[in-house]
Symmetry: C2
Subunit: 191 residues, 2 copies
DNA sequence: GGCAACTATGTAAATATTTACATGATTGCT
DNA sequence: AGCAATCATGTAAATATTTACATAGTTGCC
């Protein structure tokens, strides 16, 4: 799949970066919502990309003697990245989610135990949703222009807000079902 | 993490199953939306679970001589699974999504090229949403009872419908932005 | 009886990801 | 000057996942 490869190429295509910068990008507000990698995966991948001729680097000294590698995409890298980006692909059959897996098996818990989990998840997802909304409102009070990286940042952040909002609504629905039964549908609350 | 372990334990906890049955469960309408594994991952994991004393099996002959292994959860397996299920956990920081990654980098495509990708994704996600909605309506016209596996099936299917519905809305928003700019926000359409 | 689709189980190899081990420089603060 | 937080880069080992290789029986249909 080489998704990490293209995530990195895309970043380095935006501007020259060190491995550390790439790691920070994967930890950042925007990107971390839909992609992530540890530095132990990044540094070996950088070596691979250099070997493949898709990026090159110059060693830059920071301060007195700290050597850092500033990676830059090559024309071959640009082409490879662009081909990947333009490729029309099938949607993913599975978006893995451990909490949904737990929910699938909730029958093995008492209602109270499962409600406790639901409420904890709800609290966390609400917090995340609010945080993402705040980012969206502060950073993108006006719509960014096309052909800028801000446009990509905006669209995925907007998507993250929608995703979290819906996750919260789903959790609220689960809690509602377990607390009250669904409106209009009388539910047998006794086992 | 051992998520596969617990996914399998959860399934075998519902009822005794063969490795093939487990594979089919991971391919099924409900589960495949939020978890999946290939048989090459399942069979070795079954061996491991047997070695750990969490499941046991009896060999069942199907037809004349086809040997199948029917796995059954042990009391130790039930305990391990139940402990995992009850555990309160942090929400995932990243829900990986390759199309969102592409969107993050859309600046490197022309508007037409990216719109083509958006429309293709939209078509596929609409189709999936409609399919999931159909399953939900046909299988769960009335709310299932608590403490049944149907309740888990219902909740995750409902969650999948919500997730796809929101994905469709997000794609429509992206298309809207690229075709018309956001309502009320005049957008510079010339690069 | 032949054939296709499906049932059934495994291993091997490659790739992807996480967690732990390991080291050292820089910056800003007190 | 000392300290903490951050910058910076790497490897090792374990775990997770995908793709390919490999084999064989069963069921239903024509």
């Amino acid at each position: 799949m080489r998704n990490l490869k293209y995530a990195i190429l895309g970043l380095v295509n935006r501007e020259p970066m060190t491995g550390y910068d790439i790691k920070k990008a994967f930890d950042s507000r925007g990107l971390t919502n839909f992609w992530h990698a540890e530095h132990s995966q990044i540094y070996p991948e950088m070596k691979k990309l250099v070997a493949e001729g898709l990026v090159e680097y110059e060693t830059v000294i920071r301060g007195e003697k700290l050597e850092t590698k500033l990676y830059r995409i090559t024309p071959a890298g640009k082409k490879d990245f662009h081909d990947w980006l333009r490729d029309d692909v099938e949607i993913e059959r599975t978006y893995k989610d451990v909490f949904r897996l737990r929910t699938f098996f909730n029958e093995s818990l008492s209602q109270e135990e499962y409600l406790k989990l639901l409420r904890s998840q709800l609290m966390q997802h609400r917090q995340k949703r609010d945080m993402l909304r705040f980012y969206l409102e502060t950073d993108f009070s006006t719509l960014p222009r096309f052909k800028t990286k801000q446009m990509g940042d905006y669209l995925v952040l907007d998507g993250a807000v929608r995703r979290e909002t819906t996750y919260v609504e789903w959790l609220e629905h689960c809690i509602d079902v377990f607390e009250n039964g669904t409106p209009g549908e009388p539910v047998d609350l006794i086992e």
